[in-house]
Amino acid sequence: MDILFDAVLNLASLSGMFYLLLGVLVGLLFGAMPGVGGSTALAILIPLTFGMQPADAILLLGGVMGANEFGGSLTSILINTPGTSTNAATCLDGHPMARQGKAGMAIGAAAAASTIGGWIGIAVLLVLLPFAKTIILSFGPPEFFLLAIAGLAAVALSTGQYFLKGLIAGGFGLLLAMVGFDDMGGGQRYTLGIDYLWDGISIMPMLIGVFAIAEMIKLAVDGGKLADDTDVVVTGVMDGIKAVFKNLRTLVQGSLIGTLIGLIPGVGGTVTAFVSYSAAKQTSKDPESFGKGNIVGVIAPEAAINAKDGGSLVPTLAFGIPGGAETAIFLGAMVIHGLQPGPMLLIEHEYVIFSLILSLSLSCLLASLIGIASARYLTHVTRLDITVLVPIVLAIAFVGTYAVQSSLGDVLLALAFGVVGYFMLKFNFPRVTMIIGLVLGSLAERSFHQSLMISRGDYGVFVATTISKVLIALLILAIGVFVYQRLKHARRLA
């Protein structure tokens, strides 16, 4: 309880509120930029947090995470251009409402649904974390090893038809985690005789390269403007907020769908939003009105999108398995602040966890309030010419990468990963699995060796306990179901 109180005090301080507000503003701005999104915002912001206290850094990053999706919802409704693919479902009914002159109502509904949805997700997170803590304490090295591998496979599975490429990218992530001096066996691994690589591959240059630089290269290739917008009028916001309370069932249903899907590592917001939208349509008395400006079609995806954040933080915080790109970047930020992601985080750094939960809770509300007030102006960021955005973000990415360790080698590494990330984007290799591989690499290898030491080289240790058996069974079941579905799909196409 004292820890929670300390976290509240930090949030209520002037600096705490400043960082949270800054995070919300950056999140809204980047969320509104199609093709840029929260991952890029987080990647270029992390170096700027280097000199901060970890709790302040988490408030800033939590602000971005809580706000960026609502930024994307605003452009979805007003100009039919989702900031990220997550917001695509909101376009279906949000933009028809805007064309009917009900833009304010749609924004009000989206604001209220996303705020309440976010809170429901966080409430579920608070309920589940103590249970997760109990589970973690019963885990030994073999279970942690299996958990890391199962987490990586789950994220790869969630990439659907790119499952194989996801696994390959995840495998490369694990291999990259092995670069450097080997603490366990002594000697160097994969350093190619380069002194810089003795310390291993830092997560920061990789994150900035794979997300920020790669996205900028892609935008530079695509060219043009982010999107074309038109002048918009925002009125009737209160009617939209009231509509959310009149459709409580949709709100709760969407929030629960979002939270539950969020619990599965890697299943992104896009799936969450469309599942919630479909569920609302199927259970509606008037399904024909969906897609033509039905406000329920805005409430359902918006509630799910923000609720998903709470759910996805359960595997992230409890087991160190990121739920998606943003949580993977967030775990990277923890590393540069000296917090090792993984099972012990929940036990040893509760203060950090509470700071994140508080910042997410408040950022949902702040994003909605600021978003409503600034919606008209926020859509103008989509007019920004790519040739202005690209050099500025590249410059920030370079300076930011250098600032973390004052190393030009980091900048070179970020650039190399930028090029790799661009080709991964182009050829459908999921970038998030590579990041997760790098994050989980040391945990997986350490647990692997510890397990074999305990068992004196007997590989049976990995199937010795009930938890191990359950994890392996779940993994086999998930892969089996996936392969069956893909084969069925292929046969149908043939």
């Binding site: 696994l167 495998g171 530079a220 010419d385 410059a395 250098y402 182009k426 060796h449």
Partner: protein
């Protein structure tokens, strides 16, 4: 048939992935002792997966399956990939303080994205942001380049 057998960019990338995975595997089997065990398992698995991926891509190509990869726009891609390298070269020679204004000015001039006044405003604004953020707030001395240009 000729179309089907023509090597696609997707196949080239899959082949590169196989080669990189092979290099990791070759590196792993040269590792001695306990430190080599895990890399050997992982790189072996990655190599196997990469080979399967290559086989699937080749099979898809042979059957004439449409690819969802955007066609290569070589000149655009080379240009887009060159800009970050230009920035790196400028940083290496002139350091961050001079390289970034030069890069922004060069980019805006080549792309003709902003007028002169707007370009100067953005460059000055960004330089001010960089100075306040990194020098005043974070107290991070930025790389001065091989010419040693600093403030």
């Amino acid at each position: 048939m000729t179309q089907a057998l023509k090597i696609s960019s997707e196949m080239v990338v899959s082949l590169i992935v196989v080669i990189v995975a092979g290099l990791f595997f070759a590196g792993a089997i040269q590792m001695r002792g306990i430190g080599g065990t895990f890399p050997q398992y992982v790189s072996g698995a990655v190599l196997a997966l990469a080979l399967i991926d290559l086989a699937l891509v080749a099979a898809g190509r042979f059957r004439g399956r449409p690819s969802d990869i955007k066609p290569v726009r070589l000149s655009r891609e080379i240009e887009a990939l060159a800009w970050p390298f230009v920035l790196l070269a400028l940083v290496y020679v002139f350091g961050f303080y001079l390289a970034i204004p030069l890069f922004l000015a060069g980019f805006f001039a080549v792309k003709r994205s902003l007028g002169l006044k707007a370009s100067i405003a953005v460059i000055l604004g960004f330089s001010f942001f960089m100075y306040v953020c990194f020098i005043l707030l974070l107290r991070t001395p930025l790389y001065a380049g091989i010419l040693g240009i600093s403030f």
